[in-house]
Symmetry: C2
Subunit: 152 residues, 2 copies
Amino acid sequence: MLERKRYKTKQQEAVLAFFQAGQERCFTAEEAYAHLGESGMDVGKTTVYRAITRLCEEGVLRRYTPAESGDAAFYQYNSCKDNHLHIRCRVCGELAHMDCEAVEGFCRHIASHHGFQLDEGQTVLVGLCGRCASLEGGQARRKEKQQEEAAR
Amino acid sequence: MLERKRYKTKQQEAVLAFFQAGQERCFTAEEAYAHLGESGMDVGKTTVYRAITRLCEEGVLRRYTPAESGDAAFYQYNSCKDNHLHIRCRVCGELAHMDCEAVEGFCRHIASHHGFQLDEGQTVLVGLCGRCASLEGGQARRKEKQQEEAAR
DNA sequence: CTATAATTGAAAATGGTTTTCGATTTCATT
DNA sequence: AATGAAATCGAAAACCATTTTCAATTATAG
């Protein structure tokens, strides 16, 4: 009820501008912080986190929580306001947008047959993209992990 | 390739038994640890985490990563081996299983039109269940959150 | 310009989860 | 049984993305 007053600051504008410039690409909070610093706009890490949190609440940014806990969340500028589904490759992280009749039909089916109202903004389908699937279905990923462990 | 040997221990059996006994209910690692302790089966917290991690890798447990970072993940016994989609209410957490023609058709559509192979085991749709939707669409949830904050 | 309230940011705290490492347990082989 | 190699245990410490603290700064209204 009690709406909080909002001050417009260069820091918050800078964070928003950064994500807008990246269009649909995903960045972690740390990456945003680093990039801002490199481009001369020094914004404190705390402030970056706070700005991102606020932008997510406002629906300006979309947040992706990685399955592995402890990993950094990443954020993406949400240019399109209309709802559509996202599917993310569990190996390479590629994100695809699904905006078609099939999605709408599926939503209607869920509503009528399962009694749920699908939240397209918060749902991220997980799958395997064509490229990663052709690489022997995850074999490549296992190799990556082994190399990571060997590097330690 | 090099398969690691597995030793059967009472601790791992206890963790598995705990989740099986809970059937489809969700528990955090901490809850599993506490419950095991109460029922006389003292299993170290580290071991509970390790057992859960392993069971997830084996597909025996399903892991839910909460949207709010820092919150504990929760785990659920995965009794049914056949693939189907899950949809979870973002307010009350109710989980529904979707095992119907529409899901299969949607999977085929994703494959043919978007080049992705949907991973039904890792995908959890987010939505609003009928009960929570009727409670003025999330008003109840906001009240909950306010109470939580007031309690601090 | 002044008062009030929001924002900033460095440093410290938080908290779920993982790592460390020495002690213990499992299991295959004598 | 006895032995040994390898996996597991678990308490404590480390980890690390994120949040909180709090004093200094800055934005806005009057």
